[in-house]
């Protein structure tokens, strides 16, 4: 096979004469879980990034350690769109188990680069095929048999680079970066890339239109996943006690946090100024967070749905006893175990009201990796300012996938440690009442254990208490504390991160969304404008309780579409509880909850249907 097979009939327009498709397509790499394709995927992603082309990568993986199919999709977009697309035009088929299905899923005019032995040609006539003898190429350059499985992945990077016209020098520098000081590892891997690159150059005539062309849209940008960004946020908030229990997809939040703490928080004498504890379960993790927060340390945990369920009782204690702590919830699908490696936004309602009784929580909603960092550190200030647990709701798509971003900015304000009285303050005041609203903002003053003053101590309890922290069963005293807590929560509307007005025209139609929905929604709103000539407004929500601007946004539109990634319209429901009765009927929902990241087309189609366009 000297050339890629041109399968598309001339009468339909041969691919070779079609217009070039530059920097606007997706690549789907189908492999087997545990085969070590991650670094190859990452090198390919960074090579496109290195060509100056906006790029995003998504790992669609099974809940399994090794052996089940996994797909990695890379989207290059000259427009800067980073959401998932329904179709990937270029397939790299390395998994025999899914190869047929993967090939059948290609759009007409797509490309299949595949292991020769899989003989995918038999399934389609409207796709360009590039069969590659991966094993033979790998064997020739890698004498050590046990390394071949890993090295084989790099061969595909070389083939793809050649076919997409990616500069080999860019791949080389990306690879050098990846393996840093491990020269031998670099040489072996680059040898594999080059073998693939040369093989494709020699054997294939390009028959497809897809190319990566140099642009200048990634200069100064970084690539990072949301969990690493959140961990970084925690570290730059001065987090000191971390207690956690491993759970997909949140584990890497703590791994990132712990790595950075080891890097930045060890004294010259080798002593740690932090503590990271792998707890026995999520109940213990949140218990440790609250114990540490009570004693004055900035503390956090990270978890996902099942862990959130286990943290329920303690979350109510944190709310009622008014103890700071930060809980990162990287959402995955439920109910119950659900699909642990698939994304979702279906924890919103349960987190907002987590625990029995009249409990409600501050919930921050980052919509980008940069906000995972920024809201990550803001959460600690808010938790101590408001003396309450603060939840940061990310999701698997945002948390575990790689995103392009502007570099993160160093926090511009010092840490806000909230209202804490010292022994000197107590000397001056002569005493204090822990839960008394002396400032009119619903927030009392607290003391920390170890404050050397006879009047410093108070009794923290989850049972009924009065404003002096004494046990009570008196109706008036109970109500006074509950009403103050409600005032504090109301006050939080002004303190939490406000919404972002993304599109602000004079449209009668508005959109509301939060979190990772933003990526697809921005693209969809462009589609709606281009394809239907419909200009719409869009406000992205960044926290609960909802800021007043969100009420104003709903009030100033006739219809408001709430787009979210759950079945039960949880964001819309939460808004309905908050909005005046006459505004509630304006809301309508666009929902997506199959576990895959939201794509723009789904929103556009749903909107068009609902609007009768």
């Amino acid at each position: 096979m000297a050339t890629g097979d041109l399968a598309l009939g001339q009468e339909q327009g041969a691919i070779s004469v079609r217009e070039r498709v530059a920097n606007d397509f997706s690549i789907n790499v189908a492999t087997v879980n545990g085969s070590g394709s991650q670094s190859a995927n990452s090198v390919l992603l960074k090579s496109i990034f290195g060509m100056g082309v906006p790029v995003s990568g998504k790992n669609l993986f099974p809940s399994n350690i090794a052996g089940l199919p996994t797909w990695y999709t890379i989207r290059a977009s000259k427009e800067g769109y980073v959401a998932r697309t329904r179709d990937a035009e270029v397939l790299v088929a390395l998994n025999p188990d899914t190869a047929r299905e993967d090939a059948l899923a290609l759009p007409t005019g797509g490309v299949a680069i595949y292991e020769e032995k899989l003989n995918l040609k038999q399934y389609r006539e409207d796709v360009v095929f590039y069969p590659v003898p991966f094993d033979a190429i790998t064997a020739a350059i890698c004498p050590e048999a046990k390394l071949r499985k890993l090295v084989k992945n790099m061969v595909y990077v070389g083939v793809v680079a050649q076919l997409l016209r990616i500069d080999l020098g860019v791949v080389e520098s990306g690879l050098r970066n990846q393996f840093a000081k491990k020269v031998k590892v670099f040489e072996l891997n680059f040898g594999a890339v080059k073998a693939g690159f040369d093989y494709a150059a020699e054997k294939f005539t390009k028959q497809d239109p897809f190319v990566i062309e140099r642009m200048n849209r990634t200069a100064g940008k970084i690539i990072i996943d949301g969990n690493a960004a959140a961990g970084m946020g925690a570290v730059f908030a001065g987090v000191t006690v971390v207690a956690w229990y491993p759970i997909t997809p949140s584990t890497s939040v703590v791994e990132a946090t712990a790595d950075l703490l080891k890097k930045f928080r060890v004294t010259p004498e080798g002593k740690a100024t932090f503590a990271v504890v792998q707890a026995e379960d999520e109940l213990a993790a949140i218990g440790m967070v609250l114990g540490a927060g009570w004693a004055g340390a900035r503390s956090m945990t990270a978890t996902s749905g099942p862990g959130i369920s286990l943290m329920t009782e303690f979350s109510g204690l944190g709310y009622y006893a008014e103890i700071p702590g930060v809980i990162f919830d990287v959402q995955r699908t439920g109910p119950s175990t659900g699909m642990p490696t698939r994304t979702s936004q279906a924890d919103l309602l349960s987190v907002a009201f987590l625990s029995h009784g009249d409990t409600k929580h501050i919930v921050l909603l980052p919509g980008s990796v940069k906000e995972c960092f920024e809201l990550g550190y803001a959460a600690f200030d808010l938790a101590e300012r408001l003396q309450t647990p603060v939840f940061v709701l990310s999701d698997l798509d945002l948390g575990m996938n790689n995103w392009m971003s502007d570099p993160f900015d160093y926090p511009s304000t010092p840490l806000d440690r909230g209202k804490v009285l010292t022994a000197e303050d107590l000397d001056r005041l002569g005493g204090f009442a822990r839960y008394r609203d002396v400032d009119g903002d619903g927030i009392g003053w607290r003391t920390l254990p170890g404050t050397l003053h006879p009047k410093a101590a108070y009794f923290t309890r989850g049972s009924g208490h009065n404003d002096a922290a004494g046990y009570t069963e008196k109706p008036d005293e109970y109500v006074a504390v509950m009403d103050r807590l409600a005032r504090k929560f109301e006050n939080a509307r002004k303190l939490v991160p406000g919404p972002v007005t993304v599109r602000d025209g004079s449209s009668k139609i508005g959109f509301l969304a939060y979190g990772s929905t933003d990526f697809a929604l921005r693209e969809s709103l462009d589609q709606i404008e281009k394809e239907y000539g419909q200009d719409v407004d869009y406000m992205r929500i960044r926290a609960y309780p909802f800021a007043h601007e969100i009420h104003d946004f709903v009030a100033s539109h006739e219809r408001v579409y709430v787009v979210e990634q759950d079945r039960d319209a949880q964001l819309a429901s939460l808004l309905k509880l908050d909005l005046p009765a006459d505004q509630v009927t304006k809301l309508r929902s666009i929902l997506h909850y199959n576990g895959l990241p939201l794509d723009a087309r789904t929103v556009t189609e749903e909107f068009a249907t609902k609007e009768g366009l």
Binding site: A272, G287, M288, G296, F459
Partner: protein, 349 residues
Amino acid sequence: MGTATANATPTPKVNHIGLPILEYRGGKTTLCAGCGHNAISERIVEAMFEMGVQPERVMKMSGIGCSSKSPAYFMNRSHAFNSVHGRMASVSTGAILANHTMTTLGVSGDGDTASIGMGQFVHLMRRNLPMIYIIEDNGVYGLTKGQFSATADIGSKLKTGVINDLPAIDTCALAIQLGATFVGRSFSGDKKQLLSMLKAAIAHKGTVMLDVISPCVTFNDHEGSTKSYKFMQENDEPINEIGFVASFDEIDVDYGSGQVYEVEMHDGSNLRLRKLREDYDPTDKANAVRTLMESHNNYEILTGVFYIDTQKPTFIDLLNVVDEPLATLPEALTRPPKQALDALMANLQ
């Protein structure tokens, strides 16, 4: 501080940090009159007073239940955290991580520990977290009006006539196996032994687990109960008698005749155990567990300190943290500088 005044009222006795015992008192108890838990609170007050612990340097922790209410009844000058049922262990862990310079005393119950709190209890023991963990053990749920707990002895009978047909969990044997480094059992009515044990506990560095049999006067102090005063008086068999001498205390107590086992505590004070049995060695872990197991077979309740290890590193040692409390480290030590973020960003480009 007790200051000398011109009038005739005698200056109250003060401890070596100059505080009268009054400064160690708590609020008025709301537990039943005669409840063993109140006697334990009194011994805690005495032990803290005698050891000269600054009340502000103490954290009182608890879960939920009758026992867990008791921190309100001693040491009002200490911060207290009455948490949720069965979760005293994790809250204490977090608090100690935040400030390991404090003396931490937790009061739990048999339900709070051996049933709902078992998961966290075993992990706290395993970590050898530096704190005193007291189980006020009456074998019964008081606040819900008298159900059996998991430490109720097999064959014991409720007021309602229900017989417990499951074996009791021996929290001491468990604690020893799991890694606690000071494990003992006492009886709320044995003032001398309990006070000595508590004073030793205050000086110990590591997890102290004290199971204190504390009869429930309302729901578990009747004929047929194995945790009643009467039963304990008849069946309590001390394996050793403890006297504790703090290093700052000038008085040298003479314990009379009998063998003396001396253990040097971390703060330089000495714990002296008088062996009532020739063969008992509290540093022998396997023997400690075996002794407890044998006592079950003999329907005996052993009291005394079963196990001590003064060498094992605590959880705080293992974490290798700075000497200062982590909670109050200044921002300069907790938030990395701008250059740190800039370097991370450069690496990601």
